[in-house]
């Protein structure tokens, strides 16, 4: 028998374990459902009762990446035999591929804008946070409050001024415009988060480096940056998730050129009936980059969230 104070009892362990598993299931089931729907046929996707076991098909993914036209049986027979498996798949449904869809392009826009704004946000945020953390600045507290105050209303509340501004500056529907917008929205959060992380790094490290013969900038990137990596990684994840998932501004400010994936995915519904598997396929693929990014930085993220909780 174990009478340790810190070791939980077997019953507590089971209880905790089951709670965690249940919570995990509740969180992950909608996600699994989306992923599964992506591999269903249109009929299976809306069948009632819902199908848990089904015959997977790539139809949703093919539909996601193509636009198709319906042709009648005679025309179909006149066509040369299909060259690829996906052409075959489309013809089995009585359709032919008209052109590739714009999903790939939209996805690429999302990558450029999402990662671009995150990178810019980290560069500016780290520099600003470092200055706030290390230097005596006039009106420092007021400036910090001012920066935070930009987050006190939902960003979309200023949608109209931004829309007009972008129009006049020629930034509407450009990658640069969206990168700047998302950076502006995320910057206040990242300055605050990063300032906290940099405050935790004792200033003596830089002073030691300064005496050891490094310039202020060298001390910053050789000594401060490696130690702030944790904070930068977790802040970057928050920024990326916002920029990646942002919908309202993307609908308002982008159309033909710089449209990102979030406003594009729902438009699939309007084309040739409610193609839920294609929507689900689009959402599934859209998940992948953020997931990969987060998994890569996961080690830092966990440490980042608990950073400073315990004095080392």
């Amino acid at each position: 028998m174990n009478f340790s104070v810190t070791e939980p009892s077997v019953r507590t362990k089971w209880f905790a374990g089951i709670t965690v598993v249940l919570y995990g299931l509740i969180t992950i089931i909608p996600l699994l459902w989306i992923i599964a729907t992506g591999f269903k046929t249109s009929e299976d996707a809306i069948s009632y009762p819902p199908k848990v076991v089904f015959k997977p098909t790539l139809e949703g993914y093919v539909n996601l990446f193509t636009t198709r036209t319906r042709v009648n049986q005679d025309e179909l027979e006149d066509l040369p035999p299909p060259e690829t498996w996906y052409e075959q798949l489309v013809r089995d449904r009585g359709q032919v591929i008209a052109s590739p869809s714009r999903y790939g392009e939209r996805f690429l826009n999302s990558l450029i804008i999402g990662f671009g704004s995150t990178a810019l946000c980290m560069v500016l945020g780290t520099a600003a946070a470092y200055a706030f953390s290390r230097f005596r600045l006039p009106l420092k507290d007021d400036l910090l409050f001012f920066i935070l105050s930009t987050r006190m209303m939902p960003p979309i509340a200023v949608a109209i001024p931004i829309f007009l501004m972008f129009k006049n500056l020629g930034l509407s529907d450009t990658h640069l415009g969206m990168i700047m917008l998302y950076t502006a929205v995320n910057l206040s959060l990242s300055v605050w988060l990063l300032k906290g992380f940099i405050d935790e790094i004792p200033v003596e490290y830089e002073e030691a480096a300064l005496i050891d013969g490094y310039t202020r900038f060298q001390a910053f990137y050789k000594v401060v940056l490696p130690q702030a990596a944790t904070g930068i990684a977790s802040t970057a994840i928050f920024c990326l998730i916002f920029a990646w998932n942002e919908y309202a501004f993307a609908v308002l400010l982008t159309s033909g050129n710089a449209q990102t994936a979030p406003p594009f995915i729902p438009t699939i519904i309007g084309v040739g009936g409610k193609d839920w598997p294609a929507v689900a396929a689009g959402a599934t693929l859209f998940l992948v980059p953020v997931m990969v990014f987060t998994v890569l930085l996961r080690k830092h993220l966990l440490r980042g969230i608990t950073f400073g909780a315990v004095r080392k």
Partner: protein, 365 residues
């Protein structure tokens, strides 16, 4: 190695004056102590010498070269921080090698210097380990290693033993001293621990509220304090003060307080008003026949000696006497003072009155 000269050095942070016009010299090869309570400006002074803060006014010379406005890296000095400031993302070897790499020294030579230094400090076996796993003492050794590897003109240390526990501090203090005697490098050392200062320093400068109170070798400062602050700050227990009021004439060898007469060294200064007669605890003896009467309030046993606290009509007094002396709490007895060790202070200015005994020490400052 280097001689350091400080002239009228002053530092203000906004409306707050951290250091008021300090002037002193650090001789070549000296182990120099900057001593004072927290907030007295000693660390600010050191940081200005190192180039981590810019002085508001005044000048700093290292080997007759003015460095007041130069960058820290151009002063050719090494700094040891209280919390060591070892780079946690590098191992021991890299930490020690870091200053050399910044100077662009060839790899092979760097490796050789690092192993020499590791050998001096006895940390060869730690070179590949990470900083996180090291004990306080080993971290301190690595920090010293990083300082000495460059062979700088001077070492500046900001309470380097402050982060260690008491037992280990003793050990590191003696290691530091033997290191200093071997390298004979000019060292400026900041501490608030008066024992540490007296134990290790060749010279001590005592600071308070940004002002240099006294400057000299430890024994002079201990025996002949220039101010009541220094008298109180050095020594444990600190100097006793018997408070009185009246006139002290030049050439007098006695001071009369109510019915008691105390012999003092021949005075060379005159004053009138409130004064304090300062005497170290070890210069007080219990003597039933003495005219200075007291009541024993408490005793503290310290092994070879004991501290006796007694109340007199001029204030409370602590005496250090042999521990085998039988002292009863509550008893009435007398105190005799060793008269040629006494310093009389003017309470209005806080300064020591000059006498035949302390003139030689205090006249120059």
């Amino acid at each position: 190695m280097a001689q350091i000269r400080i002239e009228n050095l002053r530092k203000e942070f906004g409306a707050f004056t951290a250091v008021e016009s300090s002037t002193f010299n650090v001789e070549d090869g000296e182990f120099f102590m900057l001593l004072g309570p927290s907030g007295c400006g000693k660390t600010t002074t050191l940081r200005m010498m190192a180039g981590l803060e810019l002085p508001t006014s005044g000048r700093i010379f290292i080997d007759d070269e003015e460095v007041s406005k130069k960058k820290a890296s151009q002063r050719d000095i090494a700094f040891v921080f209280q919390m060591f400031a070892l780079y946690p993302h590098m191992n021991v070897e890299k930490n020690i090698a870091y200053p050399l790499i910044s100077q662009g020294m060839p790899r092979k030579q760097v490796r050789q210097r690092v192993s020499e230094v590791a050998n001096i400090l006895g940390i060869e076996s730690l070179l590949k380990s990470s900083i996180r796993g090291l004990s306080g003492g080993d971290r301190q050794r690595v920090a010293l290693g990083r300082a000495i590897v460059r062979e700088p003109k001077a070492f500046f240390m900001d309470e380097p033993l402050g982060a260690l526990d008491a037992e280990f501090r003793e050990h590191m203090a003696s290691e530091l001293m033997s290191l200093h005697s071997r390298m004979n490098a000019t060292t400026v050392y900041v501490t608030h621990d008066q024992l540490e200062a007296m134990q290790m320093g060749d010279k001590i400068i005592v600071m308070n509220h940004g002002v240099v109170e006294q400057f000299g070798v430890p024994q002079q400062i201990y025996d002949w304090p220039a101010t009541m602050f220094v008298a109180d700050f050095l020594g444990s227990p600190s100097m006793n003060f018997l408070h009185g009021n009246g006139t002290i004439a030049s050439a007098s060898t006695q001071v009369k307080m109510n019915e008691t007469t105390i012999n003092i060294p021949r005075q060379t200064e005159t004053m009138e008003g409130e004064f304090a007669v300062g005497v170290r605890p070890e210069h007080i003896q219990l003597d039933d026949a003495a005219s200075l009467r007291c009541a024993i309030k408490a005793t503290e046993y310290l092994g070879t000696t004991q501290i006796v606290t007694a109340t007199t009509e001029f204030g409370e007094v602590k005496a250090r006497v042999a521990s085998n002396l039988d002292v009863t709490v509550g008893a009435q007895t007398g105190l005799s003072l060793i008269s040629d060790t006494i310093t009389v202070f003017n309470k209005a200015t806080g300064k020591a009155l000059l006498s035949e005994a302390n003139k030689a020490v205090l006249a120059h400052g």
